[in-house]
């Protein structure tokens, strides 16, 4: 692949997608005060009559979205990832249980959020939403893939949770390659038969960096952008189990319940290869710059490299 160019944050891609989705009159946007942060403000400016501001009241927002969905609308509701969790039971009982199609987006996910500190750093959202039957869980790695996957939600017939990130990340796709993405299908960014790195969100670019360093040491890694945590692309994982000597997962999320858990759960049925998880190990974050916090939490490309080496040794 070509060298990644610097793009926006995945939340910017979400905002751009909403603007494009406005062409469909069924699309409505719901906000809980943080539209400037989640980037739903772009939709609001262009389509105020289809934007519903609900104030700092996430539980209400989730059920208002459910009511609108039951009345033929396609609601996109967003706030910070951490604050979507305040409406978790509402998503479970009011949206997913009756099978209403509401698309929830949590921005500012993970410790990458940075200086706001631990109260804003959701490290459990992917795990939570993954447990809800019928829920699709998406975590894109850059702005272009976030835009493409959000656009695809227009024709997605299940409720979904998309986690976006606050800060800019290197682009893994360009305007053309992002069109090949499909919800539920992992994306191979690099091929190698020694080991496989399955990453999501901000950790995808770290995985690529790790693979490049490993390559200089004679180890070739496949790197997968597993942008959809649920439904998990088990076919792709089965193929990696066949072709690689081990799997390392990487996520800006607790190692309990997220991408690593999902991969390990699947491989526990099939068996075959050792797995290491790079993620936040059962602790809260703190204030700091994203790079500092990634170092502190042990979720840098260096940590991915050591995990790969530990499997191969």
């Amino acid at each position: 692949m070509s060298a990644p160019s610097t793009g926006g944050a995945s939340r910017d891609g979400y905002g751009s997608a909403l603007l494009r989705l406005a062409e469909d009159p069924r699309v409505v946007v719901l906000e809980a005060d943080l539209g400037k942060s989640t980037k739903s403000c772009l939709f609001r400016e262009a389509n105020p009559e289809r934007t519903v501001s609900l104030g700092i009241a996430e539980q209400n927002m989730v059920l208002v979205a459910a009511g609108m969905s039951s009345s033929g609308k396609i609601p996109f509701a967003s706030t910070f990832a951490i604050f979507t969790e305040r409406g978790f039971e509402q998503v479970r009982n009011g949206v997913a249980r009756p099978g209403l199609v509401v698309h929830l987006c949590g921005s500012h996910g993970g410790i990458h959020t940075g200086t706001d500190g631990s109260s804003a750093q959701s490290i459990e959202d992917l795990a939570l939403y993954r447990t809800i039957p019928g829920m699709t869980v998406i975590h894109p790695c850059d702005d272009l893939s976030a835009e493409e996957l959000t656009i695809q939600l227009l024709h997605h017939d299940r409720p979904s949770y998309t986690r976006t990130a606050r800060n800019k990340t290197p682009r893994m796709y360009d305007e053309v390659s992002c069109k090949d993405l499909k919800i539920g299908k992992g994306s191979r960014l690099r091929e190698g038969s020694d080991i496989a790195i399955i990453a999501c969100g901000v950790m995808v670019s770290e995985a690529i960096k790790a693979a490049e360093v490993l390559s200089s040491k004679g180890i070739e890694a496949t790197v997968v952008d597993m942008h959809t945590i649920k439904p998990l692309d088990t076919e792709l994982i089965d193929d990696l189990v066949e072709t690689c000597g081990g799997i390392v997962t990487a996520e800006d999320h607790s190692v309990i319940g997220g991408l690593g858990s999902a991969v390990a759960e699947h491989v526990s049925y099939t068996g075959g290869v050792p797995i290491r998880m790079v993620g936040v190990s059962d602790r809260f974050g703190e204030s700091g710059e994203p790079e500092e916090l990634m170092e502190l939490m042990g979720i840098t490309h260096g940590d991915i490299i050591s995990s790969c080496e530990s499997i191969l040794s």
Partner: protein, 269 residues
């Protein structure tokens, strides 16, 4: 329907309620019996629906937020022809369209999946906002219990409904004064509900929720007032119509035994 026909309808529903809970061996008679006069009046004269097309876009919505009072809903759906007697009497049995708590996924004519309190008014607000975007005059009715409004989300929705001037949103509060464990005033008194809603910007009327003239008149008033959200605070008696269930917290969520069924049927005739 005339007032006397509505009373007859409510009486038949009361019998269904007690019978289906007895057959299931579980359920919530108290809050079903307190709510049924309002529900009978709504379905009897007010709600716009089509039994042959339960998902008709422009139907009025009835959102039963106090979803444990599902027998009240199933009794009226049976009377209106949405479900048959076998459906109704299979309440709470595995595979039944009549789930323990009302569920839109399982039952034709049910517009909301309830069971977790405090969510229905938000859902109704979403329905009302969608209706306005579609320039539809469909009315949205939400029924909540008084214990239920201890949930913070209810007040989030009440504030938002006023802010968005959701004029087609109509709320009925079943003020039966009893919740699961005990009387509301013991658990956590909710106070002057009418004054509270009024201070949130709602138009509110208080009625005797078992006086069919008052019920009908309030429903008509609420349905014709479309510039702001309206609420009917209905003062009711938990377990109304069955003497030993009336005002008795122990019949919030308990089925009558065989003898109690017989006594109840004797009273509901």
């Amino acid at each position: 329907m005339t007032t006397s026909q509505l009373r007859e309808l409510a009486l038949r529903c009361r019998r269904h309620i007690v019978k289906m809970i007895h057959a299931a061996g579980a359920g919530h008679p108290g809050g079903s019996l307190s709510a049924i006069d309002m529900i009978a009046a709504l379905y009897g004269n007010q709600l716009r629906f089509d039994v042959d097309n339960p998902n008709w876009d422009d139907r009025d919505r009835f959102i039963m937020s106090k979803g444990h009072a599902s027998p009240a809903v199933y009794s009226i759906l049976f009377e209106m022809g949405f479900i048959d007697e076998e459906d109704m009497m299979s309440f709470r049995k595995m595979g039944s369209v009549c789930q323990g708590h009302v569920d839109m996924k399982w039952t034709d004519g049910v517009d909301f999946s309830a069971g977790s309190l405090g969510m229905g008014l938000s859902f109704g607000l979403g329905c009302a906002l969608a209706a306005r975007m579609d320039s539809s005059d469909r009315n949205i009715w939400v029924m909540v219990g008084d214990g239920e409004i201890q949930e913070g989300q209810f007040w989030e929705a009440a504030m938002a409904a006023d802010f968005h001037s959701a004029g087609r949103l109509n709320l009925i509060v079943d003020r039966n004064r009893i919740q699961n464990d005990d009387f509301v005033e013991v658990q956590m008194e909710v106070g002057d509900v009418a004054a509270k809603l009024s201070s949130f910007g709602w138009d509110v009327r208080e009625i005797d929720g078992h006086n069919m003239e008052q019920v009908s008149e309030a429903i008509l008033w609420s349905s014709t007032k479309t510039d702001s959200p309206t609420a009917i605070v209905a003062h009711t008696t938990k377990g109304k119509g069955v003497s030993f269930m009336e005002d008795n917290p122990s019949f919030h969520g308990k089925a009558p035994n065989d003898k109690e069924l017989e006594m109840a049927m004797g009273e509901l005739s």
